[in-house]
């Protein structure tokens, strides 16, 4: 099992969700986050006060997939989340040791 963590532009969430669902993935966790990478922030001006806003709003998707599906999942996210502009986001893949479905007690691949 692998954890795929993707940080993407918020307006791309629905396309990504749809593509991952098409792969047969049955769930995901989504968090509204802020951060920055190469895409710099912007300046906000309120009367005389100017603020540099460094942290931009992004969406973080966390989805645990069977090891055999991970490449397809990553490819689907890249395909759908890409705009070609700076700020499209990042994908991180990390191993998962163990998973349990709370309702049934099923474990690992049958739990995700």
């Amino acid at each position: 099992m692998k954890l795929v963590t993707a940080i993407i532009k918020p307006f791309k969430l629905e396309e990504v969700r749809s593509a991952l669902t098409d792969l047969g993935l049955q769930g995901m966790t989504v968090t509204e986050v802020k951060g920055y990478g190469r895409q710099k922030g912007h300046t906000e001006i309120y009367r005389g006060a100017e603020y540099a806003v460094s942290f931009l709003p992004k969406v973080k998707i966390e989805v645990v997939v069977p090891s055999g599906t991970v490449d397809k999942a990553v490819e689907a996210i890249v395909r759908t989340a890409r705009t070609g502009q700076i700020g499209d986001g990042k994908i991180f893949v990390s191993p998962i040791d163990h998973a349990v479905r709370v309702r049934t007690g099923e474990t690992d691949d049958s739990a995700i």
Binding site: E44, I45, Y46, R47, G48, A49, Y51, V53
Partner: protein, 490 residues
């Protein structure tokens, strides 16, 4: 006093009213006209205008200010404005109205007396004069109308010390401030003997011959002297450029200086938490301001209509000017800029609203929009004081532009109305230079009286209850610290 001076002084049409003195002793020989009765149209309009001015404050001003602070201080802002209105309404009927709008003793040029404390002697049948000889409105509606002015003026101040002043200190300060600053200034600018006494004394003087001339002149002088000091000068302030806006603006600056900067000012971002609220508030201010300005005519007539159209166009012009200045100097026109410009325009047109023509009002609005925008960014940043919501930059600076601008724009040659001469029964000759100098004098009077008075009162309050919460409490936010509640529970 010479009759020629008398005309101008006595004719200044500001939002004040005579309280009695229908006939001075020397005029006893004149036939007594039947007592005038209120016109129902005038009365209905003034009842409406009074309610509109309350709408400016709650919720208008409260939301305008509330949207500009951070989430953790939203309720404190709403509460300070709301509680201020409630407190001042009570103070007003206990002694405020009497201090502002009755004849005082030897200090009559500066503040009134206590003859109408607790509204003594006021009944549903009591009337007060408007600016037309023989026209009256019920005294209760006049008391209500002026009450709303007394309530909004101190509420304007709290924006300067937003997010960092204890609620108890604010309430104590505002109670002292209306007593020692607002009521006297209102008396100085707006209190006069009224049209009937002035017209009567003028006629008696014109008719008198020989020895009677001296007695008639003495009576005339007494009528003229029975007015606030600024009114005696001949200052023009239709709806409160000096009394309300300069007065509150300079008090706000003193507050910002004495209370000090917010914790983290200049290092942490302090963006407004909801400009949506701010626009709702600014729009309610604009709507309510029709009551404020057009109501200051005290009658439902042409002068009220003039004040209304000026309140439309000056506001629109100032909002556009501020947005244009932002586009030029900062790259983008902002909603907050537009809303701030609208308020600056409303402030500037307030003293001029019944005197300037609509085209003059547009010019006034454009000047106010540009200058206030420049003041709230460049000058304020250079001076590094923390006037949190720009009460000084918008209300004091805008008020000064309006007060001095009124001296120019009231001129008939610039489309203004001129000033009505009650003695001659016509518009007097207009001396623009002299009027502008008078306007500068009343601006200076207000700045000094309110500036020094507010400074002293802030220091007194600091000694009695202290001005600020602890640093940790300020970081936590005044909503929880002062009021034990939060604005938004999702």
């Amino acid at each position: 006093m010479k009759l020629s001076n008398l005309g101008r002084i006595a004719t200044v049409a500001v939002a004040a009213i005579a309280i009695g003195l229908m006939a001075a002793p020397a005029l006893a020989q004149a036939p007594t006209p039947p007592a005038p009765t209120p016109n129902k149209g005038d009365t209905a309009w003034m009842l409406t205008a009074s309610a509109l001015v309350l709408l400016m404050t709650v919720p208008g001003l409260a939301l305008f200010y509330g949207g500009l602070v951070r989430t953790k201080n939203m309720l404190s802002m709403l509460m300070q404005v709301f509680a201020c209105v409630c407190m001042v309404c009570i103070i007003w009927v206990v002694y405020g109205y009497s201090m502002a709008f009755t004849e005082g003793t030897s200090f009559n040029p500066f503040f009134g007396g206590f003859s109408k404390a607790f509204l003594a002697g006021v009944t549903p049948e009591s009337n007060v004069e408007t600016f037309t000889d023989g026209v009256v409105i019920p005294e209760y509606v006049y008391i209500c109308f002026q009450m709303t002015f007394a309530a909004i003026t101190p509420a304007l101040i709290v924006g300067s010390m937003a997010e960092r002043m204890k609620f108890s200190a604010i309430m104590l300060f505002l109670a002292l401030w209306v007593t020692f600053v607002y009521f006297p200034i209102a008396h100085m600018v707006w209190y006069w003997a009224g049209p009937a006494a002035t017209v009567g004394a003028g006629k008696a003087l014109a008719a008198a011959t020989g020895d009677a001339k001296v007695a008639a002149q003495t009576a005339m002088d007494a009528v003229v002297a029975n007015a606030g000091i600024a009114f005696q000068w001949g200052a023009l302030d239709f709806a409160g450029g000096t009394v309300v806006h300069i007065n509150a603006g300079i008090a706000g600056l003193m507050g910002a200086l004495v209370v000090g900067k917010r914790v983290g000012f200049g290092r942490e971002a302090m963006p407004p938490h909801s400009l949506t609220m701010t626009l709702v508030g600014a729009a309610l201010l604009w709507v309510g301001w029709f009551g404020f300005n057009a109501g200051s005519a005290l009658e439902a007539g042409g002068t009220a209509a003039l004040a209304m159209i000026n309140t439309f166009v000056a506001t629109a012009a100032a909002a556009l000017a501020w947005m244009l200045a932002e586009k030029i100097f900062k790259g983008k026109p902002s909603l907050l800029g537009g809303a701030s410009g609208a308020v600056a325009g409303l402030v500037a047109v307030t003293p001029a609203s019944g005197f300037a023509g609509p085209m003059g009002a547009i010019v006034l609005g454009v000047v106010a929009g540009f200058v206030c925008m420049f003041f709230c960014s460049a000058i304020k940043n250079a001076l590094r004081y923390d006037d949190a919501l720009d009460v000084f930059g918008v209300h004091c600076i805008g008020g000064i532009i309006g007060a001095i601008g009124t001296g120019f724009l009231a001129a008939p040659s610039l489309g203004g109305t001129g000033v009505f001469d009650y003695t001659a029964g016509k518009i007097a000759d207009y001396d623009m230079a002299a009027q502008v100098i008078i306007q500068c004098k009343v601006v200076a009077l207000t700045l000094v009286w309110s500036g020094v008075g507010s400074l002293v009162l802030f220091l007194i309050v600091k000694m009695i209850v202290g001005l600020r919460p602890g640093t940790d409490q300020e970081r936590e936010g005044l909503d929880l610290v002062d009021h034990g509640e939060r604005a938004y529970n999702y």
